[in-house]
Symmetry: C2
């Protein structure tokens, strides 16, 4: 793209890349599949991280940090786990470089490791090895640890934020004395994710559980939140796994219960990643550029002074600084006092960067002791008296946050149709969105549908499963076991 | 160690490891040289990070994130840089595992990378590659970016926090239009580190510049802050490099100046790491265990209720909760209401964990509507009226923070002796601490002294260099060029 943003209707994928480039959220790196988080994009992640971290603390979790590198033998200990991750691991084989004969450097053969290491694709194995050292008795339980970390999963087809070789995430890893406590934890964290997505990211999500074929490698149950993008594709926005005793068995982690018997420990893990930035971009942005919910906007309010003469300049800049001072530290505010570009160009730039609210200040606003407010989400511009500018901005930002949520919610709900025949299903699928079905669980049929339509089961929604009773599977005609949401997905 | 902590006088190295184990700050990992940051240790880092991050923002910096993996050819572009880091790089050579014939997994030969990647030992090369894309004109400067990241430098001899293969750090990387602006930035960040060390970590440091042989690989000047541990060894606690145009040349990063000419960009980089946790432990802790300055103590105040009967229990717990409420969110407070262990055992545990202030609450304290305060740094216990408990705690924590600094400062100042002969130097060195000398700069002599005494030049202190004029080098007898601080160092 040059300076323009491809319209969504023309090419949705290109639009996404153009929005990212225009907002300077990320850049391509010289390492295939790895991206650079530019300051504006990283600031969005920092805001998400701070909010999530508070929610994790409030639910009793603490942060820790485990090694980046994992011995390959650890991966093999859990059979499904290694199958799920072996094909996308970055492998460290040497610990030194030497000068190469033809110039440059190369791995020093003398530094070859006895056992290769992988860069963590997820940390269950190394963490459960450590839990094995820390857990002896019921008194040591529960362990409620979260880690903020970088992850590498080698990907051939990448897309900024949504699918990259390296990404940033948090991974919670908890250990419990009972199955029910672990299940409760997995469900609790799913609720935390749902509330965070709704309240902070303005993303309405469906809570559900994955079918066997979409389950995390090593889990008994994978719970998920699924969001819907503007092009009608679904996006998995977070997962919370009930791991049963699989990793405890693999790493021989048992505890003495209150009756003095030894039992294997019960586990969960849960995570969200920088993929959420992609979800936010794809859900809210428009053909003008990035749109950010105020809660994760690095700049929430931009004040743009407008002047024609030097005397006006002094006047409006003074007023702008007073308004900034009145907004205090409650909001993230920027005054754009540049005199190298015109107001229109400033509006254009901040719109593309997704700033939720612009406050224009011209000589007339100074005279009226007010500001002129333009929400990024459109609608009529309106005045706010300078005397109550903090109240006005607070209300405007809340309205923008609420509107983004309700727009996304309406779009999502509109698409949520129930289909009872495969022919009807295929027709509806072309329109995009979630297609709701009654389904007789069967991995082979799931695979056939995927090959045929590119749609997958996004989840069995937690709500409304009782409806499946007495229904017939839309694909096999057998008695339905689940209500299943299908969609094409990122 | 079993449960005991080896006294410092018996074995300082073992004491350090015992303090860490008793406070549950870290643990060994199955990957040689990599450590696990346990929750209590990681919380200390989180507090350091939050405070530093605020200081970086206040000085105009923003955060970003660059890839973990760097093509080996990038390292070679700056000759000194590759020489400094090639011997300690973790090298990624494959991107997939396959099932091995004898069971387990192994790197899949078909996935061998065309060009090996190293895990970043520092990020100058990848960042300057990106700056080459972002910088065209003087309008794009300065760039003031910081990154919080994990780093891998393969180490054979490791020590928790102080020297590990993987560690956590921040690295600032800035780009400027002029030499003087870059030098100013490097010096500004050194001042930020010094203020942080003094105010937050209670570490008095010497600001200085490194000799050629201790300089960062690729820098023109390496500024540093040097701290002194209780055993008389020095520890480099942070560095700030003026990189000149070295990386700009290596990565061909030039800009058009206001006169329309192209010039290479000027650079700095600066960093502190989780090594600071080691510095804090070694500076302040005692034979009882960890001592933490209040500013980085995850728990600043522990309230320990004391009771003998159930009715007393209810009484003191109620009082403890009221005191906690009165302390509000200003302090990090824990009420230890466990009835499984006795008060003495609680005191012992929290002392080993380095909690700065203990508030004991027994029936008599309830009756007197007060608490009984015991600072971790010793001295007489004292009462604080419940009505003014927040004021009392604030003052007590400030006193502890100040006392830790002044104790460390006194210890440091005591050792700071000037030696004018090599014989005297060797005698003084055995007593530990910084030995101040007049020095004629000479890398060969520096190496000889190191071989002979294990001491290195920690820095040429920024203050007092004018004293060297007219003096004679304590080692070579030649005219002195610098005042040099020598010490044995971690």
């Amino acid at each position: 793209m040059a300076d323009g943003i491809t319209p969504r209707a023309t090419d949705y994928s290109q639009w996404y890349l153009d929005v990212i480039a225009a907002a300077e959220l990320s850049d391509y790196s010289p390492v295939k599949g790895c991206m650079v988080f530019r300051p504006h994009g990283f600031a969005v992640w920092d805001l998400m991280k701070n909010d999530l971290d508070r929610r994790f603390r409030e639910t009793g979790h603490v942060n820790a940090y485990f090694p980046l590198l994992i011995p390959v033998s650890f991966l093999s200990k859990e059979a499904q786990h290694v199958e799920g991750f072996a094909k996308e691991c970055a492998v460290v084989t040497h610990h030194r470089l030497r000068m190469a004969e033809g110039g440059g450097v190369e791995p020093d053969p003398a530094s070859k490791l006895e056992e290769p290491l992988v860069i963590r694709p997820t940390s269950e194995t190394i963490i459960w090895h450590m839990y094995g050292q820390w857990i002896q008795s019921w008194r040591d339980l529960p362990i409620l640890i979260n880690q903020w970390a970088n992850i590498v999963r080698w990907e051939m087809k990448t897309r900024p934020f949504l699918r990259t070789a390296e990404f940033l995430w948090q991974e919670g890893h908890t250990a419990h004395a009972t199955r029910s406590e672990a299940v409760e934890e997995a469900r609790r964290m799913l609720d935390v994710y749902e509330a965070f997505a709704a309240d902070v990211l303005a993303l309405p999500v469906v809570k559900g559980v994955k079918s066997t074929s979409e389950r995390f490698a090593g889990a008994e149950d994978t719970y998920c939140i699924e969001a819907l993008m503007q092009n009608g594709w679904a996006l998995q926005a977070g997962t919370s796994h009930f791991l049963g005793q699989n990793f405890a068995r693999a790493f021989d982690v048992s505890f003495q219960n209150t009756a003095g018997e030894r039992e294997f420990v019960w586990a969960t893990s849960w995570g969200v990643s920088t993929r959420l930035i992609g979800a936010v971009i794809m859900t809210h942005s428009d053909d003008t550029g990035l749109v950010l919910p105020p809660a994760v906007a690095p700049v929430q309010v931009v004040i743009t002074p407008i002047w024609k003469s030097d005397s006006e300049r002094e006047l409006v800049l003074g007023h702008a600084e007073r308004v900034r001072a009145a907004l205090g530290s409650e909001f993230r505010v920027k005054v754009d006092a540049r005199d190298t570009i015109k107001p229109g160009a400033k509006y254009f730039e901040w719109e593309r960067k997704g700033v939720p609210l612009r406050l224009e200040i011209g000589p007339r606003d100074v005279a009226g002791d007010s500001v002129f407010a333009a929400p990024r989400t459109g609608g009529k511009k309106f005045g706010i008296p300078a005397a109550t500018v903090a109240d006005g901005v607070r209300a405007a930002l809340a309205a923008i946050q609420a509107e983004l949520y309700s727009r996304a919610r309406a779009r999502r709900d509109e698409t949520m149709r129930t289909c009872t025949s495969y022919e009807g299903f295929k027709v509806e699928l072309e329109k995009g969105g979630f297609v709701r079905t009654y389904w007789a669980d069967d991995a082979a049929n799931e695979e056939k549908i995927k090959e045929d339509t590119k749609a997958t089961i996004r989840c069995f929604p937690l709500e409304g499963q009782e409806e499946a009773a007495g229904q017939t599977c839309f694909y096999s005609g057998r008695p339905a076991t689940h209500v299943a949401l299908f969609a094409r997905a990122y």
